[in-house]
């Protein structure tokens, strides 16, 4: 286990991220970095120290989420300090910029791809690749209460679609602010490189008591389907806490573990690590489609 510092930046899914790092790293090395001075009076949060400046010690790991427009800068700052970084997408201001950031970092920055480490998506993707024939349609629907920037929800939708059906060829996307001042819902359809048709939907506009996650892959010789509302685990109590998923290792924990092992092995292009480019390219094409109300080539 590394004795180097682990810094978590940004509030998105912070509890889940902190928990994952606590299980993988010595707790005394983990800190939440608030370089903007927010919560200046707070010394600890979620059981870990709150730091207000980057560490002087070289090396370590930065896990970067938060303000979408600030992520690329934070990643560059981390790399300048000799740190590795896990950057939560989206980041940068264009597809070219995002790919340039990754190229410049030379493997020191890896893109967080938690969908790739979520068992139902892994299982659906591997099951679809084995035994249902050539994929012809994919539907991915992700309806959750608001917990992150809508751009991040869109990215994870594109990540799911790319994982399930492969690289996208084109996409058409419509976004709307249905319940919020800003965008909270995206519908999209399009094509994969193999001509299969895709549908994606991400929304944070539904009532807090409702969520839905659909994974559906149909092939010429069968289909794979998952619906979160047919849960294998379902617990509801008077506390209002529901349990609809169950893990021995959370997706974040699996992802961070895989990335840090690859860094430890000094493997720049670890063959078992997922390639972020299909999701990044699909994301930027969807953003352009939303902007122009046109079909965009991925």
């Amino acid at each position: 286990m590394s004795q180097k510092p682990v810094l978590l930046i940004g509030a998105d899914n912070l509890a889940e991220r902190v928990e994952a790092y606590k299980r993988l790293f010595p707790p005394e090395g983990i800190a939440i970095l608030r370089p903007d001075g927010a919560n200046a009076g707070r010394n600890t949060f979620l059981g870990v120290p709150v730091a207000h400046e980057w560490p002087r010690q070289d090396g370590g790991l930065a896990d970067i989420a938060g303000d979408v427009s600030a992520r690329a800068v934070a990643a560059r700052q981390a790399v300048e300090r000799g740190m590795n970084a896990i950057i939560h997408p989206p980041f940068g201001d264009s597809r070219a910029n995002a790919e340039a950031i990754l190229a410049a970092a030379g493997g020191a920055v890896r893109v967080a791809l938690p969908i790739h480490y979520t068992h139902k998506y892994e299982a659906a993707a591997s099951s679809a690749r084995a035994g249902i024939g050539e994929i012809i349609t994919v539907r991915a629907i992700r309806i959750f209460p608001p917990a992150q920037a809508w751009q991040q929800s869109l990215f994870h939708l594109m990540e799911a679609l790319a994982l399930l059906g492969g690289p996208l060829r084109r996409v058409y996307a419509k976004a709307a602010a249905l319940k919020s001042a800003g965008t909270d819902t995206v519908f999209c359809n399009g094509r994969y490189a193999n001509r299969a048709i895709l549908y994606g939907e991400a929304s944070a506009a539904y009532p807090a008591t409702y969520s839905k996650e659909v994974i559906e892959v149909t092939g010429r010789a069968g289909m794979v389907e998952y619906d979160s509302n047919a849960r294998s685990v379902w617990s509801a109590s008077e506390s209002g806490v529901t349990l609809a998923e169950s893990y021995h290792r959370t997706p974040y924990e699996k992802m961070i573990d895989a990335y840090t092992q690859a860094w430890a092995a000094e493997v720049d292009a670890h063959p078992e690590l997922p390639d972020p480019r299909p999701a990044l390219r699909a994301y930027w094409a969807a953003m352009a489609s939303i902007e122009r109300n046109e079909v965009e080539t991925v």
């Binding site: 012809i136 349609t137 629907i141 058409y172 709307a176 519908f187 048709i197 549908y199 839905k212 079909v295």
Partner: protein, 343 residues
């Protein structure tokens, strides 16, 4: 309900299997009487004959090969048309000119010009034209509509619907000359009609992806997904694909999820079903446990005609489905969203 009188109905063409469901409903309905049937393919009347044979009180049904002979019968007041799509328009116009009310299977027809001619012919003849969209009469859809109309979820903001089916591999459904298209022609109309019914709004813009991927050798599309905008900026999407495996436990589904300003509601019209699995044959099938939507479709049609009012689902509703179909095909051909009216 108009007293105890029953509407005398002729069943024209059994090309579409739904006609057997409508005949079954007619035989069950106090407000309907089956008096005649016509089909050029004798074997297609077998199921009707079985249903009649199973009923000791079955009416005497006159049978014709040519539907025009059925239309000459004075006792026929209305007809149910379930031919291949390409024949809907001519049969409807002939029926209207013979003074018969018409319930026409979906999709209403192939072109908007045909739809306009059908509507005009019925209007000019003083008869009613109904489109057979039975999903409105599914118990869950009906109850969901009542809840939405009562304001339970507020104003509708977004919708997603599916109408999946196992693939067609033969027959007129995959003959583009007789069907006018595949899964888009056959299946977006149910979901589109439900969306129009729930919102009271029309489709404003359509972007569609469609192709022939499940059975690449057939001549019509069998997979598709539409992203749509309805009037008022309502976001919508529809998956009408014939992409289910042949041994899927259900014949298909009709699912709709509605997001409103104050809540959401979702339902599957065919969701109330028992799944039956046979070990020896490997057969898997579903048995619908809900009340028959065909029965309530025919009940509304017959009671409306007898009361001298239009049925709930009109020819104009059928035309709107055709408009959405044509916009989807145009979108696929031109690779761009098609705007039908202001959103």
């Amino acid at each position: 309900m108009s007293g105890s009188r029953a509407l005398n109905i002729g069943a024209i063409s059994f090309d579409h299997g739904h006609q057997n469901g409508y005949v079954s409903a007619i035989l069950d309905l106090p407000a309907a009487q089956l008096v005649a049937a016509a089909d050029a393919v004798p074997g297609q009347l077998n199921r009707m004959n079985e249903m009649l044979a199973a009923r000791p009180d079955a009416p005497a049904v006159k049978v014709f090969a040519d539907y025009r002979e059925l239309l000459e019968l004075d006792e026929v007041e209305a007809v149910s048309i379930c031919s291949a799509n390409a024949d809907h328009a001519q049969m409807t116009i002939d029926a209207a000119q013979a003074g018969k009310h018409v319930l026409c299977e979906k999709p209403l027809c192939i072109t908007l010009a045909e739809a306009d001619a059908m509507i005009a012919a019925c209007r000019d003849a003083g008869v009613f034209l109904g489109t057979a969209y039975p999903c409105r009469f599914g118990p869950v859809a009906w109850q969901a509509k009542q809840r939405v109309d009562a304001g339970e979820i507020g104003d509708i903001l977004a919708m997603h619907g599916t109408n999946h089916l196992r693939p067609f591999t033969e027959g007129w459904f995959i003959d583009p000359q007789r069907s006018g298209g595949g899964t888009i022609r056959d299946h977006i109309v149910h979901v589109t009609d439900l969306m129009r019914w729930f919102t009271g709004k029309e489709v404003a813009e359509v972007y569609a992806e469609g192709d022939t991927l499940k059975r690449p050798h057939i001549a019509v599309d069998d997979v598709a997904i539409l992203v749509e905008t309805f009037e008022g900026g309502i976001l919508a999407s529809t998956d009408p694909s014939w992409n289910r495996p042949e041994n899927w436990s259900k014949w298909g589904n009709v699912y709709l999820r509605l997001l409103g300003t104050r809540g959401m509601i979702e339902f599957e019209v065919t969701g109330q079903a028992i799944v039956r699995t046979e070990a020896q044959s490997g057969a898997v099938s579903s048995i619908d446990t809900s009340e028959s939507m065909n029965y309530y479709l025919l009940k509304d049609f017959c009671e409306a005609i007898l009361a001298g009012r239009s049925p709930l689902v009109t020819g104009e509703d059928g035309r709107a489905g055709v408009e959405a179909i044509l916009a989807a095909y145009q979108s696929i051909e031109e690779g761009r969203p098609i705007r039908l009216r202001d959103g």
